[in-house]
Amino acid sequence: MRALARAITLVERRDPSVRNLEDAIRNDARVPGVTGFTGAPGTGKSTLVDSVVTLLRGQEQSVAVLATDPNSPFTGGAILGDRIRMQRHALDPKVFIRSMGARGHLGGLSLASREAIRLLGAFGFDQVILETVGVGQSELEVAAVADTTVVVLTPNLGDSVQMIKAGILEIADIFVVNKADLDGHGRAVAELRTMLNMAPKAVWKPPIIPTVATRQEGVEQLWEAILAHRRHLEKSGRAKELSERRLRDETAEVAAELARDRTRRALQEDPTLTERLLKDGTPYRTAEEILRTRTDN
């Protein structure tokens, strides 16, 4: 387990040695199912993930959770607290929980999580759950990596205008309205449904699942919906399309990372180049020159 934890650290900090992992783990055919959970702070994501883990363990599936919390933009520090809600799975060797700070991923969080998912697959995990707070853009990166994205809402999140704000609703394959035992739950579901009915007609219509995560209610229905979405992806050919697009995206991201490294190194090692850049103030021309002339890695 420590080897896995270490490898994820290397992936997270974008250590060049992870590039050598590629050949070692690609041959492993196992691809875990990847489900993303996102939503505003306090909607009960961690608790919901915890109850999904419980359900999956009941089916003898092994589960890895990658939980992302924000870092301070000022100090880089972070409090990663998602484990608190998942304590009952502590010491279960078939459950692996890893907290990640959202920052520090030079090539983006998606790059790190993609590679982490491959590692988890190579280590034999059946299911991977990505959890992220929907406060910025990191949830969009996660949505780009997950097969199925679950958006978690609760009653009383605000009026219906909150619901039509861009972003979070568009990435959802499944909606959960958690805390279904609270007042206002019916209204929240109704408003959400109205909003979804106004959306352009699509092949997949995101279902709305009410849950009470603290009481394990609705969790089976949620998992059923996730499996239904996966079947839909397979049947419609969308799964293949997505995995191909991801490989292309990932290649572009890795290329960007390599170019960035090479550029930083060039500026560090070549004082005349840096001097010219600072004098002329020409980042575009300098970058092009570096990428054209420097081939080292």
Partner: protein, 138 residues
């Protein structure tokens, strides 16, 4: 700088039957503000749970808080568990209401540092900075 310096990751936990978590939260917050990645695991942890979390999280440090008086049992139990899991590179520090004699004994048994009530938060941060100079954050 092709690779970012690895942030120091600290698993912070309350071990045993002890619900006094105000102090540990203040410390966690101070460490966050000092640029560390703090993984807070919550109340009523066993030594096995804490070590398991530290291994999964690939943390370099475990910070324990005890106000129940069971520090002579629980702190060394965490150190022993680290030995058992062959992870003695992970260092352990602690805080709580702990008499001086016990501090000496705990350090002998592998706890690196103990901070008692009234310790300025900066002292804990300074200690970590000294312990992990290569990862010092801004």
């Amino acid at each position: 700088m092709p690779t970012a310096v690895r942030p120091v990751r600290i698993v912070v936990a309350k071990v045993g039957l002890d619900g006094h978590d105000r102090g540990v939260k203040v410390v966690a917050r101070a460490l966050r503000d000092a640029g560390y990645e703090v993984i807070y695991t919550g109340l009523r942890q066993t030594p096995e749970m804490v070590v398991d979390a530290a291994l999964q999280e690939d943390a370099q440090v475990i910070g324990l808080s005890i106000h129940s008086g069971a520090h002579m049992t629980l702190f060394p139990a965490v150190v022993e568990e680290l030995k058992r899991r062959k992870a003695t590179d992970i260092i352990v520090f602690g805080g709580g209401i702990i008499p001086d004699d016990d501090i000496t004994a705990l350090k002998k048994r592998g706890v690196e540092e103990i901070f008692t009530p009234g310790t300025p938060l900066q002292e804990i941060v300074d200690w970590l900075r000294k312990r992990f100079p290569e990862s010092a954050t801004k």
